[in-house]
């Protein structure tokens, strides 16, 4: 009898763990890691925050009603807000989807249709996106606030900024389609380098502070975008392929933030002052 009761308890516990790990997409807030022994970098494994099957509804980005969106029509870019909310550009439907503890907490309409909606950033209460040539700021209502890069002479561009985005000019693509980044910084001055499977955080003195494994999802996946928060949290957006099509989009945290109070992009303003009409209004 005792064994039967224990068996039932184990079954209930198993079901609880199983149901809490599967089904609806969910998000875990970032946790600041503990200190490590002197000289030893902290090692982290990727933590799955969102698992989004692609499909025809807002909670399942990508739009082909008959099945699954293909390359270039999927979620293309991600950002993480100061409150930990995850923002994803659903390029097919021209919307930004906002996820928090609940699966979906907001849908933001892009100001206009964009061929290439990349490099999403959250700047205060505004969002930043980049087309292949132009950058623009808009808010949670979809109100356009600023466009930059309309001429070649001025305006802020990500190339001018201390980058924390995948589009930085210092990346190159490896033969195995993993990206390598160099000289990427967070708001605290830490630098990040990405190799095939590992991301490393290095402080201003050059000491390696932490390393995180990049997610590897079977049978095949690719990383579509990275995002580094001012506090040093590193997140990835991955596409999962099945039978040649992208079927899911995943968001992982690969390095936990070292601070939740880092200054939020203090470096934008000087670059915008190049062109008065383009001064950042965020």
């Amino acid at each position: 009898m005792k064994h039967r009761v224990l068996g039932v308890l184990w079954l209930v516990l198993f079901c609880f763990i199983f149901t809490s790990c599967a089904g609806e997409p969910r998000l875990q807030k970032g946790i600041i890691p503990r200190e490590t022994a002197a000289g030893e970098p902290l090692e982290e494994k990727p933590v799955l925050l969102l698992d989004l099957p692609l499909g025809p509804t807002y909670t399942t980005p990508g739009v082909d009603p008959g099945g699954v969106s293909r390359d270039g029509k999927c979620p293309t870019s991600l950002a993480v807000g100061p409150d930990g909310s995850i923002y994803i550009v659903d390029a097919a439907r021209n919307k930004v989807l906002v996820y928090d503890q609940n699966p979906l907490t907001g849908v933001i309409e892009l100001p206009f249709i964009d061929q290439e909606a990349w490099d999403l950033m959250v700047i205060g209460d505004r969002l930043f996106l980049r087309d292949y040539q132009f950058e623009y700021l808009f808010d949670h209502q979809g109100l356009l606030h600023q466009i930059c890069g309309l001429d070649d002479s001025s305006g802020f561009t990500l190339h001018d900024l201390p980058s924390r985005r995948s589009s930085e000019t210092t990346y190159r693509q490896c033969p195995d389609f993993n990206w390598v980044f160099e000289q990427v910084t967070d708001g605290l001055g830490n630098r990040y380098s990405f190799s095939n499977t590992i991301i490393r955080r290095v402080d201003h003195s050059g000491q390696e502070m932490a390393r995180g494994q990049l997610p590897k999802i079977m049978p095949y996946s690719s990383i579509a975008d990275f995002f580094i928060t001012p506090g040093g949290g590193v997140y990835t957006l991955s596409w999962v392929y099945e039978t040649g099509n992208i079927t899911r989009a995943l968001v992982h945290r690969v390095l936990s933030p070292v601070s939740d109070s880092a200054p939020d992009i203090p470096f934008l303003q000087p670059y915008c002052s190049l062109r008065p009409s383009c001064a950042l209004q965020a």
Partner: protein, 240 residues
């Protein structure tokens, strides 16, 4: 910022925009255009879906602009900027081709289903069919034009709906099983549907009977393959 924007075109029923987000974004783009150096001569004499825009302010004042071609705007002088003018067209299309306006245009116009690949094959829709089609349009949503069937592989046979209203006419192109495009160049204003709209028009205007050797005979096939000496190319994917 204007409080109202009216779109007049020979391509669609007149539309009035009063949505503050759309008006703000429109006016923001217009202010950027105002910073450009005006051109005295038109760069491209080919009018491309020309539209007249009348912006009104609460004070009663009005300004009239004309979108001349894909990249140019006329307001006294010509202002040429591909990015800005195409984004303005995007904004306007968002209002013109939202589901409610699509359905309204269908209900208030004369409509023919046409098979563009077979000249002369067409059929006028009755009121019941128009109601059914308008109902199906309510669930459509706008998509990035990269989502739609690409220019290199237009489906066949090409189905379209010709709409004719008072002072305007438009054509809806079916692209693949799930998309309808309002632009003959295949990367214009595209919206997605669940497949039912294409099935409706295929039922209302099936490919006519044909003999082997006639073009229509190909469109009636369940499968379509090109057999060469060493290879077989399956074209069924592109068949509507």
């Amino acid at each position: 910022m204007p409080s109202k924007l009216e779109i007049r075109s020979k391509l669609w029923p007149p539309i009035q925009i009063e949505d503050p987000v759309l008006l703000n974004n429109f006016w923001h783009l217009m202010q950027e255009i105002g910073k450009l150096t005006p051109r005295s001569a038109r760069l491209d004499k080919t009018d491309y879906r020309p539209m007249t825009l009348v912006a009104s302010w609460p004070s009663g004042s009005k300004k009239e602009f004309k979108l001349v071609n894909r990249d140019s705007l006329l307001y006294g002088s010509y202002y040429h900027h591909a990015f800005l003018n195409r984004r303005i067209r995007d904004l306007l299309a968002k209002a013109m081709y939202n589901p409610a306006n699509l359905a309204r245009a269908v209900l208030t116009s004369e409509i023919e289903v046409v098979l563009l690949d077979l000249p002369g094959v067409k059929r006028r829709l009755n009121e019941e069919e128009k109601n059914l089609f308008a109902l199906g349009l309510i669930d459509t949503f706008r998509v990035n034009y990269r989502e739609a069937t690409q220019p290199c592989d237009p489906p066949f046979p090409l189905y379209a709906l010709d709409l004719k209203g008072k002072g305007w006419q438009a054509r809806m192109y079916f692209a693949g099983e799930h998309y309808i495009n309002m632009d003959e160049e295949w990367y214009g204003h595209t919206f997605a549907h669940d497949g039912s709209l294409l099935r409706m028009v295929q039922e209302w205007l099936p490919v006519p009977a044909a003999k082997p050797g006639e073009l229509a005979y190909l469109y009636r096939a369940e499968e379509l393959k090109i057999v060469e000496t060493d290879t077989v190319s399956d074209l069924t994917y592109w068949k509507n």
